[in-house]
């Protein structure tokens, strides 16, 4: 028994630090931070910025989709609301970016908790429909909410970029902040996966009734994961819309973005930590190529639909599932 015990990497900081995957995630974040900084490559930065946003959305939707098995079609509501809170706090209340985006994130998590109490009683297709309902209801509300500019939205004064060292430097600051949010999303996903909370979520994903009989506090866990999965996308939304200095309902609550988050998580392999990030990166590269090619302008949504179909039918494990089958040893290294 002693030997078995020694082999088990504990949850203590030392145990985690000895796992290669901990450092693989660090390497990914470092690569994102360093690559465009070399030679001040603005084009690469913009490309990776979008990838970081996609990875953030995919990693967080994976918490509820991949671990707990609940399909959240309306996850973009977190991103959009985060954007609105941040932009509003900055323009109307004069808060700085850090305070606005973090408080915005917390506010969205609190709202998610309230939504979750209502819709997490539903399962399967009903839950998925309800999440779309939440997104549409919030969009309808915001479109009529005058303090947030109703349908026209809110413009930010470019003066707000001055504290960050002017527009040019502000874009770099925002980029690094988004890479940070992406990194936190990866680590959050990882630490949840290897925790007791994650074990309970995966049990719910496999068979919710059996999980409850085994003692998993299903209502609390589901609400918690829905709430937690809202925070970082909301912060990312705040940074993203601050960067654009403009937010309006149709951009903030775009369901296409929601669908893409699901496709990317499934493409990479839901329920794994690296999969959603990998899927998001691959998809974002594909998407930017399709958007710039004359033949395929706006064609990415057709592709994402087709991809979803192919994944569901032929590769439910996504890219990670394929990698694990090809090299079973990878399971031990890549979570």
């Amino acid at each position: 028994m002693k030997a078995v015990e020694a082999k088990k990497p504990g949850l203590a900081a030392g145990g985690v630090l000895r796992r290669p995957f901990f450092w693989i995630m660090a390497a990914i974040v470092a690569a994102f931070a360093v690559a465009p900084s070399i030679g001040n490559d603005v084009e690469l930065r913009e490309d990776l910025l979008l990838a970081a946003v996609y990875i953030t959305l995919a990693s967080n939707i994976n918490l509820i989709l991949g671990y707990a098995g609940y399909v959240n079609f309306g996850s973009i509501v977190f991103f959009g609301l985060g954007g609105y809170f941040t932009v509003y706090f900055m323009s109307a209340l004069g808060w700085n970016l850090v305070a606005a985006s973090l408080i915005g994130g917390l506010a969205v998590s609190a709202l998610a908790y309230a939504f979750g109490l209502g819709i997490l009683r539903l399962r399967g297709a009903y839950f998925a429909l309800a999440t779309i309902g939440v997104n549409e209801a919030v969009q309808a509300f915001v479109t009529n909410f005058t303090p947030w500019g109703a349908g026209t939205g809110i413009y930010l004064s470019t003066e707000l970029f001055l504290p960050l060292g002017g527009p040019a430097q502000a874009l770099w600051v925002i980029y690094y902040a988004l890479v940070g949010v992406m990194g936190l999303s990866l680590y959050l996903s990882y630490f949840i996966k290897i925790s007791k909370f994650g074990l309970g979520l995966r049990a719910i994903g496999e068979n919710e009734d059996a999980a409850a009989v085994l003692g998993v506090p299903t209502p609390r866990y589901k609400t918690m994961v829905y709430c937690v999965s809202a925070f970082l996308p909301a912060v990312a939304g705040g940074l993203y819309f601050f960067k654009g200095a403009f937010i309006q309902p149709i951009d903030a609550f775009d369901l296409n973005f929601s669908t893409e988050a699901i496709v990317t998580a499934m493409l990479g392999g839901q329920g794994t930590v690296l999969g959603p990030a990998l899927g998001a990166y691959v998809y974002e590269q594909l998407r930017s190529w399709l958007l710039t090619s004359d033949t395929f302008a706006n064609f990415q949504l057709v592709i994402s639909g087709a991809l979803l179909l192919v994944i569901v039918l032929f590769a439910p494990g996504g890219l990670m599932g394929w990698l694990y089958r090809r090299w079973p040893g990878l399971r031990k290294v890549l979570e």
Binding site: L11, E206, P219
Partner: protein
Amino acid sequence: MTALLAIENLGKRFGGLAAVQDLSFEVAEHEILGLIGPNGAGKSTLFNLINGVFKPDSGRVVFRGADITGMAPYLVARAGLARTHQIVQPLGAMSVRENCTVGACFGRENLPLAAARQIAEEVAVFVGLGDRLDVPASQLTVAGKKRLELARALSAQPTLLLLDEVLAGLNPTEVERMIAVIRRIRERGVTILMIEHLMQAIMSLSDRIVVLNTGQKLAEGSPSEVANDPAVIEAYLGDPELAAEFRGALA
């Protein structure tokens, strides 16, 4: 004898059908109580009422002196009452070790992950799944899945274990091994309430038997008392072949 579990005037209707009616009995600490009755007698419904899957329409369930009537299943599990399912419910994509760890983590002891893993491994070895720890639950044989049901429930280190036909679908050798496991569970101080159709097994394992018919208690007593009860023979053992098996089990 102190009652670990008391069922008091429990009733549950599904539309026009009274699945359980005015049912009362007690399970004493450290005993094995067998629950028998024809198909549709309300045995599995009773289990679902005890562990909170269904809310009863009337009556109470008292466990270790506390009223747990209609409490959510995960709270009942936390209180120290574990069960297996007649139709196995493995967490398919998760390994045997992970399945048992869920039981240990969220059961009576509410253990942290590392401690739960250790219990899970011990219990898996105990029920004979020691060499299948890393196998996904979906890949186990029927007998393996039955053992897993048992292992998961045991990992919770329950005070009371509800076993719903853990012997069904097993071949004679497997039945033999499972019976040995059940006896050893009782030796560990766990009280057992078990549903079983396999007469010989339940007659030899149980200290007492409760017979259900159409949701009501038909008889209660030691295996020999129940087997010789005219009401039981008439209603439940009306089938002469089954009656013979019943008697044979006692011989």
